[in-house]
């Protein structure tokens, strides 16, 4: 890299730092000023991987309804693509993204290391549900989304007495060739689930699974497609998508495993070099609001606040037996889990 | 005044000399043919005149102004010439009228002028009723006329024709030959005409330039070109001929198996002990009876070894006695000789052309 470019980058960094210094670190510090600044900016760009396109757009519109004149540009893609894109933005020093919402909690420490996240504490962070407090890095990033990875079944093909009750039930030879999974290298949530299962049962659980010839898709939602099509009977799936599909009339139901569903956290943070720093902060705060939680609950997503009741079709997180893994375990465990997975399953 | 002057013109492609040292002048209104076998450089020369190819040596001048040299070339569209291509290059997306009017439109003529000149030329080439047809709806001859009309209507400085008749069948070709000459006589446009067909060149041209291996062999009017070829190549390329190569020996020229009097022979440009001649078949007489004095002229005794009846004449091949040479001679239809018959051939030395030895 030439010296002049280095200097330009450095200057840009200083400018960004200077601009950020004038911004509130705390929404409550001057929320009126934040709103005024956001109105002036009139728009913000949101990289979002946590929910499907339709839901993401509903969320964007709900924010605009609350803060008229501030438009949310929704860029919905998978977690790894969103992160790759963000890395490119940072590398090229061409900031695009204001708020980054991913499914891979490991992205956040990596961004912290690059000083890429803005120091900002949303007012609503205080209202996070008990299960979600302290999961993020206070002052930088917070969990705003969560989903339960649990067992899904095709109700037409699985007799009630055959419905698996826990994860080891999926190893039963009667599911040979009929059990579906996503891929940890493509789906952040499947990655977390892999780490959790490995922690609970050791890798031999997966070695046994390999003998059952599981059908492996890419995204965490692929098993839902495989079950709907009748290709598989049981599998691993995210609660929200499974219920959304079932709500359309598809023969799908979910099982809360007795040994624990895996709670996956989707974190969000404001970028340090956000082109719309005020709107970004305002939106970050809104992502943790009750309004947002209600939008999510309407779409079968698990709210991260205790004051918003979950969708009637779902159990409150507090009543679900959970298999927990720490952020650190995820950060360290996922790359290894992907390697193990490739060795065991071949792709 | 000379309209078009080529001076020392040459073109090299890589290591191959397509055209070498071509110098030629055309008078205003003259029609000159470039004649030669394929690959002789005639088309390259024509395309240099048109401006599609830049020469590597020499210059081209029109009206005294240099338009091509190795340093620069006026682009084709600024030369005020026109050209007729081997493929006619009639634009299939335009009607006959649009094709012919194209050059006039580029010259920004007034509408009335344009129409007048268009109608006149279409009448001249007898296409007036086909004005709105598309080229694909025309016969080959009609397409050729469109090409002619399109080229002539702009009254070019120089008209270039690149083997324009080679795609036509024999009858049509003869008709178009006369048509081109007729149009030339009517418009007197300075014309360069490229062909490999010697008969075409003979009929059409004021002068013929025979080219071979990129060089000019000879420049002459058709009659001289035929009767006084200066090189072996020209003699062989234009019409049929017999080559006789001999050695001067005292007062005689010795050939294989016979000798002829040297004093009767046309003089060579450069004295040499060798003497070669081109003798046209129709300048050779065939006689049954021996001449009273074989030494008075050029007489050769021989035997008919082949004959062919061509309707308009007989074509005989005669082998001189004691020789392996084969001489072709033509004779009128009534002049019949059997194969194997002994005959005397009479050659008119004045009609024999002295050519350089091989």
């Amino acid at each position: 890299m030439s010296r002049s470019i280095t200097r330009r980058l450095a200057t840009a960094g200083i400018c960004a730092a200077g601009a950020a210094a004038m911004l509130p670190h705390h929404a409550g510090a001057d929320s009126a000023a934040l709103e005024a600044g956001a109105s002036k900016e009139a728009t913000l760009t949101w990289y979002i991987a946590q929910v499907d396109t339709d839901t993401a757009e509903v969320m964007g519109r709900a924010f605009t309804r609350q803060y008229p004149g501030i438009n949310v540009q929704v860029i919905r893609t998978t977690g790894q693509v969103a992160y790759q894109r963000l890395m490119q933005d940072l590398k090229n020093n061409s900031p695009q993204c204001d708020v980054f919402s991913t499914t891979d909690i490991a992205h956040m420490p990596a961004l912290m290391k690059r000083n890429a996240l803005a120091n900002f504490t949303p007012d609503n962070a205080a209202s996070l549900g008990a299960a979600f407090k302290g999961l993020g890095q206070d002052g930088y990033w917070y969990p705003n989304h969560s989903t339960l990875m649990l067992i899904i079944t095709n109700t037409q093909r699985v007799k009630p007495e055959d419905v698996p009750k826990n994860w080891p039930d999926l190893l039963d030879p009667k599911w040979k060739g009929r059990v579906a999974f996503g891929h940890p290298a493509f789906s952040g949530y499947v990655g977390v689930w892999t780490v959790a299962l490995k922690k609970q049962y050791g890798w031999q659980w997966f070695d046994t699974l390999a003998k059952n010839n599981p059908r492996i898709g890419r995204s965490g939602n692929d098993p839902i497609t495989l079950l709907n099509g009748g290709e598989c009977n049981v599998g691993l799936g995210p609660l929200a998508t499974a219920l959304l599909t079932a709500s359309k009339g598809n023969p799908m139901s979910v099982v809360y495993p007795t040994d624990g569903a895996v709670l996956c956290i989707g974190p969000s943070g404001v970028l340090a070099n956000a082109p719309h720093p005020n709107a970004g902060r305002l939106f970050m705060n809104w992502l943790l609001s009750a309004d947002c939680a209600m939008v999510l609950a309407d779409n079968f997503q698990t709210p991260v606040r205790d004051d918003v009741p979950p969708n009637a079709a779902t159990k409150p997180v507090s009543q679900v037996k959970l298999m927990r893994v720490t952020t650190e375990e995820i950060d360290k465990g996922v790359p290894q889990a992907i390697e193990d997975w490739r060795d065991t399953f071949g792709s | 005044m000379n309209k078009l002057i080529l001076t020392g013109l040459g073109r090299r492609f890589g290591t191959f000399d397509a055209v070498r040292d071509v110098s030629l002048s055309l008078a205003e209104g003259e029609l000159v043919s470039l004649l030669g076998p394929s690959g002789c450089g005639k088309t390259t020369t024509l395309r240099m005149i048109a401006g599609f190819i830049r020469p590597t040596t020499g210059t081209i001048e029109v009206n005294g102004a240099t338009i091509s040299s190795p340093d620069y070339a006026v682009p084709p569209e600024k030369r005020g010439m026109s050209m007729i291509f081997q493929s006619y290059a009639i634009w299939p997306n335009m009607t006959v009228g649009e094709n012919v009017a194209f050059g006039l439109k580029l010259r920004k003529l007034s509408a009335t002028d344009l129409k007048r000149r268009l109608d006149r030329i279409l009448e001249v080439v007898q296409l007036d009723r086909l004005k709105d047809r598309y080229p694909a709806e025309l016969s080959g001859g009609q397409q050729q006329r469109v090409a002619l009309a399109r080229a002539i209507v702009i009254e070019p400085e120089v008209l270039l024709l690149d083997e324009p008749l080679s795609n036509l069948d024999a009858n049509l070709r003869e008709e178009m030959r006369s048509e081109i000459r007729r149009l030339h006589d009517a418009f007197r446009i300075t014309t360069v005409y490229v062909t490999h067909d010697q008969a075409e060149a003979m009929v059409i041209s004021d002068r013929i330039v025979v080219m071979n291996h990129g060089r000019i062999e000879q420049v002459d009017d058709p009659v001289s070109m035929y009767n006084r070829p200066q090189t072996r190549f020209v003699a062989g390329f234009i019409g049929r001929t017999n080559f006789l190569d001999g050695i001067l020996n005292g007062g005689m020229i010795g050939f294989e198996g016979f000798a002829l009097r040297a004093d009767l022979a046309p003089q060579a440009a450069t004295p040499s002990t060798q003497a070669s001649f081109s003798i046209r078949p129709q300048t050779i007489g065939i006689h049954r009876a021996p001449p009273p004095d074989p030494a008075a002229g050029w007489w050769i005794a021989g035997r008919i070894i082949e004959r062919a009846y061509l309707g308009e004449n007989w074509d005989y091949v005669v082998q001189p006695e004691g020789s392996s040479l084969r001489l072709r001679a033509s004779a009128p239809p009534l002049d019949m000789h059997e194969t194997g018959a002994k005959v005397w051939l009479q050659i008119d030395p004045d009609r024999a052309a002295r050519i350089p030895p091989p």
């Binding site: 339709d54 860029i75 919905r76 492996i216 495989l226 598809n250 | -």
Partner: protein, 566 residues
Amino acid sequence: MPSIAGPRRFDPTLLLWIAIAAVLVFLVVNPLARLAITSLQTADTGEFTLQNYITAYARLRYRESLWNSLELGALVTSLCLLISVPLAWAVARTDMPGKGAVRLLVLGAFVTPPYLGALGWILLAGPNAGWLNRIWKAATGAPQGLFDIYTFTGLGFVIALYSFPYIFIFTTSALEVVSSEMEDAANILGSGTLRTMLRITLPMVLPAILGGAIVTFLEAIALFGSPALIAIPARFNVVTTQLLQFFSPPIRTEVACAYAMPLLLITVVLFLLQRRLTGRRGYVAMTGKGGERRIIPLGPWRWAMSGYAVLVLSLSVLLPYAAMAQAALAKAWGRGWHLDNLTLNNFTFLLFRHETAGQSVINSFTYAATAAVLVLILSLSIAYIVARRLLPGAAVLGFLCMAPFVVPGVVLAVAFYAAYAPPPFSLYGTAWILILAFTTRFLPIGYANAQAAIRSINPELEEAVRVLGGSRLVAIRRVLAPLMRRGLIGAWFLVFIPATRELSTALFLYGPHTRTMSVMLMDMSEEGNFEHLSALGFMLLVSTIILVGLGYRLAGRDFMERRDRS
């Protein structure tokens, strides 16, 4: 009488040509050079290193992926040849019934994004629940299905079903200009129809077939969507899916670049091969001059031929779309065919209520159309420069036009992002970065066509303009362009159609307002939203066919017929 202009030492059109060449450098050389340079740099310091190549090829798994891609390309190309050549011959030269329908269905296959076709085939030939397997099991009582799409051959088969139109189109258009006299000459020597086709007709169009085969091969190894859907569940990787792994954390762009480099070599080899194969023999028959083209009567065999066409096109279009129709018309596709499960809501929702579906359709068509125009302008100009030898080293420009084909869309997207997202260009998030990337990606198709179109026109037609006083530009505008109109419209569609279905490039380059239909489809498949996905697939199929139909109508046929005989 026009006067002869005075000396002018500079041809201003040269400037235009230089400008066009500069554009090519912008679109192809710079991104590719960036790719090559990046492959030789260490990630952080930018120092020269060969380590990336070692990393990319030291692991057996990575080498296997490369080998899988090559095998896949070969399989797909062979299958496409088997499918296309007989079909092309039957459509172009014989009295096979239903030729119009066959052409329409081939078009249907061509406009179908390969990943959409792959999804249709998952519904058809999933080993447990695929419709074909269910029918087989019901009919025979067999416990196991007959087909398994989740295999290497399954993937090759599915890709071939949507790649064969390249060879079909190249071959039919070449067959349409081969004179019947060539075949008559063989017939009169005692050669039958089949023998004549194999020994005379096909060898004459060999350059076209080979051209199509090369495009197919390169397309097959650069494809991302179908392998993502099928290879991963089938537990193997190909180059493109492997490349994506280099982009998941830890991101190793440098290694990815190194990993993509051998593909460039493969193309070079392929083009040299093609030149060798077609260079020696004469293909003068292709002048299109003289000799009419007659239809070959097949007798009873025409029904057999028709049957073959129906079979191929059922596999490619009818069956997958039938399978998708179920989902598109279902309230919940998992419930199968039930009267009370039928609805048109998926269509009305997408058309009238979906936030971005309508916009994404418009985006796809606008970008593809603009890119196709740019490709045409560029590839024509360059093919022209090459054909008329207007600039020294023009052949290099021709090669550069063909080079982007080897670059998988993912890699091209990354190269483009790196080259043009940051200032001074700052194209990220704009439609232009997509349009320019599409332009680069489909330049080879346009160039191959433009080259053929320009070669088919006698340069004398143009020289006739110039000698009469028209400049080169007048000649291009008044003669060359009108004469190539049909060829150009055809070439435009050959770029437009794949551009509307292009996925891998778009996936990396789309921004807030520039999402394309292909990205939308892929997202829906990831979200398990099959009802909307299938409905959108149908809308894509129908709208593209309507557009193409309109295009052909605009081109006009009377014009063609006149030109054919000239």
